[in-house]
Symmetry: C2
Subunit: 347 residues, 2 copies
Amino acid sequence: MAGSDEVSNKQVILKHYVTGFPKDSDMSVVTKTMKLKVPEGSKDTVLLKNLYLSCDPYMRGRMSKLDRPYFVTSFEPGSPLNGYGVAKVLDSTHPNYKKGDLAWGYTGWEEYSLIASPLLLIKIEHTDVPLSYYTGILGMPGITAYVGFHEVCSPKKGESVFVSAASGAVGQLVGQLAKLEGCYVVGSAGSKEKVDLLKKKFGFDEAFNYKEEPDLDAALKRYFPEGIDIYFENVGGKMLDAVLLNMKLRGRIAMCGMISQYNLEQPEGVHNLMQVVGKRIRMEGFIASDHYDLYPKLLELVLPAIKQGKIVYVEDTVEGLEKAPAALVGLFTGQNVGKQVVVVARE
Amino acid sequence: MAGSDEVSNKQVILKHYVTGFPKDSDMSVVTKTMKLKVPEGSKDTVLLKNLYLSCDPYMRGRMSKLDRPYFVTSFEPGSPLNGYGVAKVLDSTHPNYKKGDLAWGYTGWEEYSLIASPLLLIKIEHTDVPLSYYTGILGMPGITAYVGFHEVCSPKKGESVFVSAASGAVGQLVGQLAKLEGCYVVGSAGSKEKVDLLKKKFGFDEAFNYKEEPDLDAALKRYFPEGIDIYFENVGGKMLDAVLLNMKLRGRIAMCGMISQYNLEQPEGVHNLMQVVGKRIRMEGFIASDHYDLYPKLLELVLPAIKQGKIVYVEDTVEGLEKAPAALVGLFTGQNVGKQVVVVARE
């Protein structure tokens, strides 16, 4: 029972490891209690009030038992999920954070998180933009788009760029960065609404609904009669196979993720890798967290562009932790339109 | 009928486009006649006496009708094959070549070739090594090994290197370059004889017969308990899938070729590409002919090493154009032990 100085703390718990497509019911929302104070004697510890939580595709891997973890570790069944979020510091014994600070980084899927020696927590300096953007364009997905496009793909003006899952948290920014760079940009997405967003809101030159294309190779040939210089890979499987057939000589593929594959027992086979040899293609994997040193460059580019309306960002928000399991699961059926955010509290 | 100033000219002809595994009988050896003189008025033309012809895996693609050629073109049914070879200039109206010169480059699969404006013909300056080496270690396969290993993979001392098809024209040199660089090197090949060569002749640290490994993943784990930094890809398919599971963080894969796939109706699917994302792997295709500017660096490294016995090179030679079809076809069943060369004439 909660003492007088304790508050209730809702948490989203992983009930068990998941195989195949995850379901809401693989998680449960429970209520615990906690004191809103860093316990006496705890060094370098922060107590966070979580405001916005980020639903990200890479979290699917963490719902499984990973035999050989290489960049993420499994969630622990019976414990709250964790991931990127925006939070307010309520109490701190960490020299870098004080009460009232806003920060984004790793936090728990709960109302309040007590974190000792935070692995990644970046203080928010600019609050004249929506705070939730720090789960997206100004957070990990933003760095992902920036690094994948600018560092991995080395774009040149006039080049042809294809982005899959293009209306998602990362894709929508990649497309807009490519337009700023003077590229021809085409995106694919899974609904008419998303395709309209790509063309009308994000300024992609063209966009198509991959679900309505029985022949992805033919679709790509329609939009890229002379081939693709840069592919920003978010989906994997059949799309990657079709893209390989349409890459130009010395094309570059930023290997960001493969959301179409995460729930399959065995990922689909990709058959056209011989194209990589003949066309001298570079395929390169990358992870945002290797590149946080470039975060200031992202802010420098994106913050003024947001304020001037040159870059826009679309979020899909749900209110309340209770809705977090469905929001996370919805990523894998493409339910979200734009970056999926869970609002835990607005301040 | 041959006039008094004409000689007979044996040629290896492609009879028809090939699907699936090629057979000797897809080619025929015919005898034509020709004059041993560049015809009057032909500018920039050389008449070559072919000495050694190179059997290379990439030639398989050229035996098919290529709908979308991107780095090679199809052979022409009814005409002689062409490819890399070593030749002696018998007559020339080209300012760069004179009678008696030795050269390597593109030539026909025939005794004598008349070539106008040769696309690639490099004069041989060093004749104190076997001339046939200019079809291998001192020719295109040598540049392939050098560029793929040194330029694409950026090796560091102590790194772990895996080479497939390791006793072949390219693989045997890659392994020796890696040893010179201070790497730990393991090779795979398809017979006990080849595995012995790798270990005893080329100095690989370890080698295994992939045909005797029911579980390639397990085999790689045995030789690379801590993973692979550099993979020199010559085979594709199941081996690539197993390698991806065993790559280290920030590993590099030089995509040189996929000989296991060239005769399949559809290439096998590769399922483990998600490893490229999580492990930040770079897979990069390359073609020797983009990098002939580095040829002097290859010679500088390899010529003295050959003379000092620090690098050795094993060739599998057949004598006579009649044996060329079987020698070429044999590449795809792994019949050759070392670089496959056809001796047309010794001088």
